[in-house]
């Protein structure tokens, strides 16, 4: 992980003091302006309806928050002001890193490259196992933000030779307008855009988003509505709908499933999900079974046993999914990509590092079998 130099960042924020710190894993705030009272943005939000008596109804996500004057949505990042709905986080970045693309994780998207990764504060769900709750489960004024308008994000990506900008760490759906505009700006300069999301979003905004980004990684947090209700405070159905929309759009899609002991790790649930993937989006969408570590509101469960992850992987492979990975277990053989035809290693990985690449023009170097993905 590379950090933006203090000098460079100061140039951008026009002399505002800055502290750069590397936090322990899971807490990714790396870029601060020391101005807790910094103003929030007031940019009119998209996807909402004005209602009588200065009320508004947000239509960005399936919550459909109905809000009176001065009220905020569940995300904490959008506010009704006098009957107009505003995003408070447009260009207000609370975290920025230069990460390996494998960290998102994207395993079939420009392997071995870096992504200029940004987030703003807030989230439209409340996962009890959130890894970044210090920035996702807060209101934007409760963290230190810096102004980073879309053109500056692009400038940074270019300066640090990142071929991709990643919208990540918190929930990019809640900074939709900023992500969209930045993506448009980045595309003009030949930079690609990837989104790391829980996809708790309505179909219309998701369709619109797929038109300006290149790849989307969706966290499928379980395959039961009960889990979504209890541990995510959201719904599963809209997430599945969003997955189908991304697939239909032709944009690159990968799925992550965080396996939490006793909560979403039953073989039945994994098989049900695998069957759904096979039926609805096909065998070539990579799925990553990631290891859970106790975090945020779930500290009473142990980290996922590797055997549980392997069992999940085997089930998905049995059901016919071609690219099934195990995440958060550095050194595991399932970090690597195998050719479904000759079974040889096409990309060998260790954690976020690429050790070997046996791909030629998107095909297996050994047998010529096409490996789906964005490779160049």
């Amino acid at each position: 992980m590379r950090k933006i130099s203090r000098r460079d960042f100061l140039k951008t924020v026009g002399g505002v003091s800055l502290a750069v710190s590397t936090m322990p894993s899971g807490f990714l705030v790396d870029l601060y302006a020391l101005s807790p009272s910094a103003k929030l943005s007031q940019v009119e939000a998209w996807f909402y309806k004005k209602l009588p008596d200065k009320e508004v109804k947000c239509e960005l996500c399936p919550r459909y928050c109905k809000l009176g004057d001065r009220e905020r949505g569940y995300c904490g990042a959008r506010e009704n002001r006098n009957g107009t709905y505003y995003t408070l986080v447009y260009g207000k970045v609370c975290a920025a890193h230069i990460d390996p693309i494998e960290k998102k994780p994207f395993f079939h998207f420009l392997p071995g490259t870096t992504a200029f990764s940004i987030a703003t504060a807030g989230c439209n769900v409340n996962c009890k196992f959130c890894q970044n709750w210090q920035i996702s489960q807060v209101r934007p004024e409760q963290v230190e933000n810096v102004d980073l308008p879309p053109r500056d994000v692009v400038r940074y990506a270019l300066r640090y030779r990142c071929p991709t900008i990643a919208y990540t760490y918190t929930e990019p759906v809640i900074f939709y307008e900023y992500m969209y505009d930045t993506s448009v700006e980045a595309s003009k300069r030949g930079i690609r855009n990837v989104v790391v999301t829980g996809a708790h979003i309505n179909p219309e905004p998701m369709r619109k988003l797929t038109k300006v980004v290149d790849a989307i990684k969706i966290d499928l947090k379980a395959f039961s509505e009960d889990f979504y209700k209890e541990y995510v405070r959201g719904e599963l159905k809209p997430v599945l709908e969003a997955i189908k929309i991304v697939k239909e759009s032709g944009k690159w899609l990968e799925i992550v499933y965080l396996v939490i002991p006793t909560l979403n790790d039953s073989p039945e649930e994994i098989r049900k999900m695998s069957k759904w993937i096979m039926k609805e989006i096909g065998p070539d969408v990579p799925i990553h079974f990631s290891r859970f570590h106790p975090m945020y509101l779930i500290k009473n469960l142990p980290p996922t046993p590797v055997s549980t992850l392997e069992r999940a992987r085997n089930i998905a492979l049995e059901e016919g999914i071609n690219y099934v990975y195990i995440g958060n277990v550095p050194g595991h053989k399932a970090e690597s990509t195998y050719c479904p035809n000759c079974k040889k290693v096409v990309i060998k990985r260790f954690a976020y590092q690429i050790l070997e690449k046996n791909l030629k023009k998107g095909k297996c170097k050994f047998c010529g079998y096409p490996i789906p993905g964005i490779w160049s």
Binding site: D53, K54, K66, G68, Y74, G76
Partner: protein, 297 residues
């Protein structure tokens, strides 16, 4: 079983030309306290709740701007009564979430050593606790004003209709004491309001609950809408927050009925959290178990 006592006190001449009469406010609060503890002098009532050495927080509600927030005259009058039992001015904090909201509601901030302190949680050096307080469905960072600065508190809330919860009153007022209230507006804010209040640092510190019913927003709350706001000129006061809110809810229903509006239950936003709170033993949510005393000064 002993009933919870709730005082509903009205002030005849509280409002004239839309101006609050400070003298009447003081009289109302004094009388309500006396009635609550059946004593002649309000100080005898207050001394049963507070000690002169206490650091007392008065959690007010300023989210809705100047027209529907706790008026400074009211919170300062209450603070004045506290000083009359020996609590030092500098040990009283009138507070809410942000300094901006306090200013907008007409407060002059005071962080100084002298006088009654008035500031928000977002004041530099205050903020929310870094560690989460986890209790049942609640996982929140508490305002350090509530957790550290004060050892006793008063919830001085505006009595309002609420589009999701049905009612916002003394218990829900503590949503303003955590960093993530937006996460607790599912399912009519139930059980969140009750579970938040049950946290020791809130429940054990809250000694007095007051609903400000000077102007009651009985529909389309919690923001201000003149069409559905009525000047009622009253306070509802109790040591039982559930009972105070329950009476506040009945009050709102009466106003709604008068205007031909459906009940909150018909609008699917009955304040269910009151019944949850009752089941949790936080107070009474039934007219049979509440002794309501109405009085006018």
């Amino acid at each position: 079983m002993q009933k919870s006592k709730v005082i509903l006190i009205k002030g005849k001449k509280l409002l004239s030309d839309n101006q609050l009469n400070r003298r009447i406010i003081l009289l109302m609060l004094q009388k309500a306290l006396s009635l609550l503890y059946e004593c002649n002098d309000f100080r005898d009532a207050l001394i049963q709740l507070f000690r002169p050495s206490d650091r007392v927080g008065i959690k007010i509600n300023t989210i809705a701007g100047r027209r529907l927030s706790t008026n400074p005259l009211i919170s300062l009058s209450l603070a004045n009564l506290l000083t009359q039992i020996g609590i030092r001015e500098e040990n009283i904090v009138i507070w809410d979430r942000t300094n901006e909201e306090l200013r907008r509601a007409g407060y002059r901030l005071n962080y100084g050593r002298r006088g009654i302190k008035i500031f928000g949680t977002d004041t530099r050096g205050i903020n929310y606790e870094y560690e989460l307080t986890i209790h049942k469905n609640i996982g929140s960072r508490l305002s350090k004003i509530q957790s550290k600065l004060v050892n006793k508190s008063i919830s001085l809330a505006i009595l309002k209709d609420h589009g999701i919860a049905g009612l916002t009153g003394v218990m829900k007022n503590y949503f303003g004491a955590i960093h993530n209230p937006n996460k607790y507006h599912d399912s009519n804010c139930n059980p969140y309001v009750a579970e938040l209040y049950e946290i020791d640092l809130i429940k054990n510190k809250n000694k007095l609950s007051i609903l400000d019913g000077i102007i009651v927003q009985y529909h389309r709350g919690p923001s201000y809408h003149a069409e559905w706001a009525e000047k009622c000129g009253c306070f509802i006061l109790s040591t039982d927050p559930v009972a105070a809110d329950f009476i506040g809810w009945q009050f709102i229903e009466k106003l709604r009925k008068k205007r031909g509006l459906p009940t909150l239950e018909e609008e699917r936003r009955k304040p269910y959290y009151l019944f949850t709170a009752e089941k949790m033993g936080l107070g009474k949510a039934s007219l049979d178990e509440i002794q309501l005393i109405e009085y006018e000064v």
